[in-house]
Every structure is written in structure tokens, then in C-alpha cells.
């Protein structure tokens, strides 16, 4: 069951896109954070986040730093992370995948692509 998705991105536009793409998707609740630190904060405040959509290139704390911290916390380790990458920073995506991210989508992405990947990853996490 997918209940809460934490979306981490420094772009207001991408958050708006998530709202459009995910608002009617399986009735899940969308939680937004503008950078890694805010995202850590949200993880502490919100119970039961079961998926993280993560941008890499962000001010204050980037996605890789965030990912590293999440992977070290027993309480958060199990939450699947999807990297939302932008062309030109492929090496960061690879690094993120090595650090434990479950998959990635490249901007620009379509709603169907995102849904497909979420489906696949959450199904894998449940089994």
C-alpha cells in the first residue's frame, strides 16, 4: 500500500508537476521538501513515508548527501528512493544507485513513466 510520497526537489515547477502527476494516483499523500535538509526534517515529522522521489542537484544539502544519511538511519533505510535526474549529471545518478537508490527517472519525464517505475519499485519492496 502506497500512502505517503516524499518529493525532494529545489524546483517549484517540479513540485507542481508531482502534484499533477500524483494527486489522483492511488490516493497517496504528497509531501514536499525543497532540499535534502528539509527532507530529513519531513522524514522526522511525518509517520509512514513509503517512497522518496529525489533530485540530486539542490542547494543546502544535495540528494547524494541526503541519500547517504537516509541509508545510515535504520528507521529510514527501508524506504525506497527513486532518483529524478537531469541530463548531464549521469555520474551522480550512478553514484546514487550504488548508494542504494532503487531506480531513476530522467527529466523530462511523463506521468506514465513515473507511475510505471513507482509501481515496479513498490511491488518489489512489498514482496
Amino acid at each position: 500500500m502506497l500512502r505517503k510520497i516524499l518529493a525532494v526537489d529545489d524546483s517549484a515547477l517540479i513540485h507542481q508537476m508531482y502534484k499533477l502527476f500524483l494527486s489522483r494516483y492511488k490516493n497517496c499523500k504528497l509531501i514536499s521538501a525543497m532540499n535534502g535538509l528539509e527532507a530529513l526534517d519531513k522524514l522526522g515529522q511525518e509517520e509512514g513515508i513509503d517512497l522518496i522521489l529525489l533530485d540530486i542537484n539542490m542547494p543546502v544539502m544535495n540528494g547524494l548527501e541526503f541519500l547517504q544519511r537516509v541509508q545510515k538511519e535504520p528507521a529510514y533505510q527501508a524506504i525506497p528512493v527513486i532518483i529524478i535526474s537531469t541530463e548531464g549529471k549521469e555520474e551522480d545518478t550512478i553514484r546514487g544507485l550504488k548508494m542504494g537508490a532503487k531506480g531513476y527517472v530522467k527529466k523530462p519525464f511523463q506521468a506514465s513513466e513515473l507511475h510505471g517505475l513507482i509501481e515496479k519499485i513498490t511491488a518489489g519492496a512489498a514482496s
Binding site: 524546483s11 517540479i14 533530485d55 548527501e65 541530463e87 523530462p108
Partner: protein
């Protein structure tokens, strides 16, 4: 692609972000050009550019996305020392930033890309090629090594740095739609109106109750409400304020481009960028300021050769400063250029029929004529400056904001334009006057003085009543007559409010002065706004007793706009004068 019904909203968000990102790019380029290469400055552009690239991709703007990608490559090359920053590189980057801004604005207007950035892209590719490295980005099959970075993050210093940032980064801000703030301020305005009413009723009741406790309690409760609502008003106004930096930011780039284009050397100094002004004013003040700065650059600052010949430094200076003084903001645009020659102004004004041969004006008055409609000192219309618009447009925009603009100049030394603006447009100080039994509010800004009108001071010149005020002749306008209201006043019992605009004066004849008051401006319905402007009305306000009072548009009295309508009926009959 996003659903078309929501794409307007997405476009707006995209555009707002993109403007900020481009502002940052301009800022970094200017700083690099001025202070030389600094890796920290280059680093500040990379993040925003990357976000802009991702966003542009999401919007389907592939040409913009590709171009931003190229820009990232160029900055990466600059960063690793592969590409030196010389004039040629700066020119290409500045031109590219302009083209990008242009492409972006156009794309957001219709939701599809219009401008092809291929030529600009080729220009950057040439830079990359000359820097001697391949353009192709690495593929995703690459084998990265995360361990090193992970180790670096574990050091105690890194840990502490992250923790400090964590504490500092707890966001204490929220984004709010401006219309909600507008609505909030409107509600506060109404609260203040009713507070005044409550105050009156409270005093009245307390008087009737005599010295009884209930009366005293009521008065003190009303005072508390008054105190809190005043604080509430202040807080809401404060929320609407933004630093004027938002406007100033774009000028360094403009000055640089204009100066290069005209072969001039100009340094722009900005002061008081942190001065806070109502957002409604921020939104409107950009154009007039832009115009005045262009004016200083086009007509003020001389070419280096001329400057040197005049014993000045080859580089001219434009000072742009903002400072708050009580409830006003003063914006000054000062240059050390050629100044304005009053005699040239006289010749041009006469040639354009703005000045009759027999009118005698002193030098200061002559110089103010540059703001007159139809006056333009430009011999030829410059590519950026002119657009065929004169400074009269600047004057009009500033008056629309209830502001004033003045010019001081010393030929050969320089000019100084001073703009005085209210801190907010929502609440103004007004002088309440009465004519033909109705109350009107006159914005206090242009009110120079008010005095009793003695019949013996009135002179009729060419069939028009004028007043001799010290050494000048001031034309009189009777407010009741202006609005076609029956005149009820008795000669000898009238007052005159002297209004000023630049060096011009007009006397407004009224029956009574009712004192000064802060009034909340309720904008006139747009459907009748045109008609309202034609009859010299800027808006309306509601008084404590619920009466609607019309606010006069003072500019109209100077332009000789005449009324075509009787005054609207919204003004309920005034209570009998006590």
C-alpha cells in the same frame, strides 16, 4: 505533456523561477567581468542552471534546455580552467543570456518555443571547441566511485558543517499568493474604518454613562482594539514589502550593455538596495527607473574622450540610491555627465510649442519642461533609450503611484533625478476638504500648503481667477465648479489648497478644510476607471460613518482634463455641518 488546462499555472511557476535563475546568471557574469575569475562565483550559477535545464525539459522547451546545457558545459570548462574569461567570452555569454531570456519569455507567452537558439548555441560550441575538449556528456554506463565522497562526508568538520546548515536551513518562510495579501489588507482597512466608528460610539456611550465603571471599561477596550488593529495594519503592510533590490538587480546589466554599445565607460553604484517598498510599487517602478537610467546614460554621461577633454575621469558614474524617509521612499538617480542646458531646453520647448515666447521662466522652471508631454531632448532616437517615449511617461507613471519626480542639474557637472514615492499604495495620507456640501480627499503628497482665501487676493487674468501667492501667480480651480456641483460657498469664507507638481502650482478652492486623515484606497471599478480618470478621481474611501468619499486625482488639475460627468452618486449626502 502537461494537461493544457493547468499549463498556464505551470508556465507561470516556470517563468518565475527562470527569471530568478537568469537574474543570478547576469549577476554572476557581471561580477566575473568586474572582479575576475572566482570559482565560488561560477559555482553559484551551476546549480540554478541545472535546475533551469531540468525545468525547461519538463515544459517541453527543448531548444532552451539544450542551450542551458551548453551554458553549463561552458561554465564547467571555465571552472576547471580549460577556458579563460576574456572579452570575447563575456560578449558571447552576455549575448547568450539575453537571447535565452528572450526565448524564455516568448515561450511562456504562448506555451511553445518561438525563438530558435541555434545561432547562440553555435557560438557557445565554438567556445567549447576552442577550449580544446569534446562536447559530449558522459554516458550512464560509466563506472563511478562513490566511496571517496562518502568518506569525505564522514569527517567531523563536514559533519558539523552539515549540522550547522541543518539548523540554519529550517525554513521559516511560506509562499503566499499576492492577491491573498491584498485581500487581507482590504479587510484590515475595513477593520480600521469600523474601529474609528467604534471609537466614536464608545466615547459617546462613555459620556452618557458618566464616570461609571462600564464606561471606563468600554473606553479602555476600544483603545486596546485600536492599538491591536494599528499593529495588525503595520504587520500586514510590512508583509507586502519587498526590498527594492528586486528592481535594482536588472540595472547593472542594462548599464553595461548600453555603455558598451555607445562606447562609453560607466560605473553604476547602487545604494540602499535593502530599502523595503510595497510590492505593488515594486511592480510598477521598474519601467520609469529604467527610463531615467537610460536617459542618464544616453544624454548625461559623455564619451571618454569628451570627459577627458572636460577634465573629468574617462569613466562616468551613475548613482542609484534608495532611502526611506518617514513614510516615503526617495529614489535618486544621479550622474556626473553633461547636465541639462536650460537654454537648449528653452529652444526645444519653444520649437515644439510647449513654451510661448512671452513666458518668462527661471532656469529651474525651464529644466522641469523636460517632463512635458511632447518634449524629447534626444536629437535622434537611440536604439535602447528612445522608443520614441519622452520623460513625460516617467512623470505619468510616478504620479500614478502617488509620487513626485524632480530634476536638479548643473550644466557640465551632472544631473540628479529625485523620485519620492509613498511606501504603500493601499493607504494614503489625505487632506479632507469640503465643497458644495460633499467631502473629498486630496492626497497629501502634492499639497504644498492651504490657506484662507481672501477675496482681495483674487485677480482675474484672461477671465480666469488667479491668486497672488508671494512672488507667483497661481491659477485657481473651484472644486464645486469643476465637478459641476451647485456652489454654496460664500466669498470670503473659502479656503484654497495649493497643489504642486514640479514647479507648477494650482490652487484648489474649497469651502472648508476638514483635517488630515489616513485613508484606505478602494480602487474604482475598472469598468468606470477611465471615466473616473477623466473626472479627476483616483479612487474612493469609506469613512468611519460609512460614507463614501472620493479621492481626487491631483494630476488632472494640472493637465486641464475637464469633467464630462456629474460626480457619481456614491457620495451620500453629507450630514449637516455642525
Amino acid at each position: 505533456m502537461p494537461d493544457p488546462s493547468v499549463s498556464a499555472e505551470l508556465l507561470a511557476i516556470y517563468l518565475e523561477d527562470a527569471r530568478g535563475q537568469l537574474e543570478g546568471l547576469d549577476h554572476a557574469l557581471l561580477s566575473l567581468e568586474r572582479d575576475g575569475f572566482d570559482p565560488a562565483v561560477v559555482a553559484t550559477v551551476l546549480g540554478p542552471l541545472h535546475t533551469l535545464k531540468g525545468n525547461s525539459g519538463m515544459m517541453g522547451f527543448s531548444s532552451i534546455k539544450e542551450y542551458v546545457h551548453r551554458l553549463e558545459d561552458v561554465f564547467a570548462r571555465v571552472s576547471d580552467g580549460g577556458l579563460g574569461l576574456d572579452t570575447e567570452v563575456f560578449d558571447r555569454l552576455f549575448a547568450g543570456a539575453s537571447a535565452l531570456r528572450d526565448a524564455l519569455e516568448q515561450a511562456c507567452r504562448g506555451g511553445v518555443e518561438v525563438r530558435d537558439l541555434a545561432p547562440e548555441m553555435a557560438s557557445l560550441d565554438a567556445l567549447l571547441l576552442s577550449s580544446g575538449r569534446a562536447v559530449a556528456p558522459p554516458a550512464l554506463a560509466d563506472d563511478g566511485e562513490p566511496a571517496e565522497q562518502a568518506a569525505a562526508l564522514e569527517s567531523p568538520e563536514a559533519q558539523r558543517a552539515v549540522e550547522t546548515r541543518y539548523v540554519a536551513a529550517r525554513s521559516s518562510t511560506v509562499r503566499v499568493d499576492f492577491s491573498q495579501l491584498d485581500h487581507l489588507l482590504n479587510l484590515v482597512g475595513e477593520l480600521i474604518i469600523f474601529r474609528t466608528k467604534l471609537d466614536e460610539v464608545g466615547r459617546d456611550l462613555a459620556e452618557r454613562l458618566g464616570g461609571r465603571d462600564a464606561g471606563r471599561d468600554l473606553v479602555s477596550a476600544v483603545q486596546q482594539v485600536a492599538g491591536v488593529s494599528a499593529q495588525l495594519q503595520e504587520t500586514v503592510m510590512d508583509i507586502r514589502m519587498l526590498p527594492i533590490r528586486h528592481v535594482f538587480e536588472r540595472f547593472p546589466r542594462l548599464v553595461r550593455d548600453l555603455a558598451r554599445q555607445q562606447g562609453k565607460q560607466v560605473e553604476l553604484i547602487m545604494e540602499g538596495e535593502g530599502t523595503r517598498v510595497d510590492k505593488a510599487i515594486i511592480d510598477e517602478i521598474g519601467e520609469p527607473l529604467l527610463h531615467l537610467i537610460r536617459n542618464s546614460l544616453d544624454h548625461g554621461i559623455e564619451t571618454p574622450a569628451v570627459r577627458v577633454a572636460r577634465g573629468k575621469t574617462p569613466t562616468g558614474t551613475i548613482l542609484l540610491s534608495a532611502v526611506q524617509e518617514s513614510n516615503h521612499v526617495l529614489i535618486t538617480i544621479m550622474d556626473d555627465g553633461a547636465g541639462i542646458d536650460a537654454q537648449i531646453v528653452r529652444r526645444k520647448a519653444t520649437a515644439r510649442g510647449l513654451l510661448k515666447g512671452d513666458e518668462s521662466l527661471n532656469e529651474r522652471e525651464l529644466v522641469q519642461l523636460i517632463f512635458a508631454q511632447g518634449f524629447s531632448t534626444a536629437e535622434k532616437v537611440g536604439e535602447l533609450s528612445g522608443r520614441g517615449v519622452g520623460l513625460d511617461v516617467v512623470l505619468k507613471s510616478i504620479e500614478r503611484l502617488n509620487g513626485l519626480v524632480e530634476v536638479e542639474t548643473v550644466p557640465g557637472v551632472g544631473s540628479k533625478f529625485i523620485i519620492e514615492l509613498p511606501l504603500t499604495l493601499a493607504i494614503i495620507s489625505a487632506l479632507l476638504v469640503e465643497a458644495a456640501g460633499r467631502t473629498f480627499a486630496v492626497p497629501l503628497g502634492p499639497v504644498m500648503e492651504s490657506l484662507k482665501l481672501r477675496p482681495e487676493d483674487i485677480r482675474s487674468i484672461n477671465g480666469r481667477d488667479t491668486l497672488r501667492l508671494r512672488d507667483r501667480i497661481v491659477p485657481l480651480i473651484r472644486l464645486a465648479e469643476f465637478f459641476g456641483l451647485p456652489e454654496a460657498s460664500l466669498p470670503g469664507k473659502e479656503y484654497v489648497v495649493i497643489l504642486g507638481r514640479g514647479d507648477k502650482r494650482v490652487g484648489l478652492v474649497v469651502d472648508r478644510l476638514r483635517g488630515q486623515q489616513e485613508v484606505v484606497i478602494k480602487p474604482v471599478d475598472t469598468a468606470i476607471a477611465g471615466a473616473a480618470a477623466a473626472v479627476a478621481l483616483a479612487g474612493a474611501t469609506i469613512m468611519g460613518d460609512g460614507r463614501v468619499v472620493l479621492i481626487l486625482d491631483v494630476a488632472a488639475f494640472f493637465e486641464g482634463r475637464r469633467h464630462a460627468l456629474v460626480v457619481p452618486r456614491s457620495d451620500a449626502p453629507a450630514p449637516p455641518v455642525a
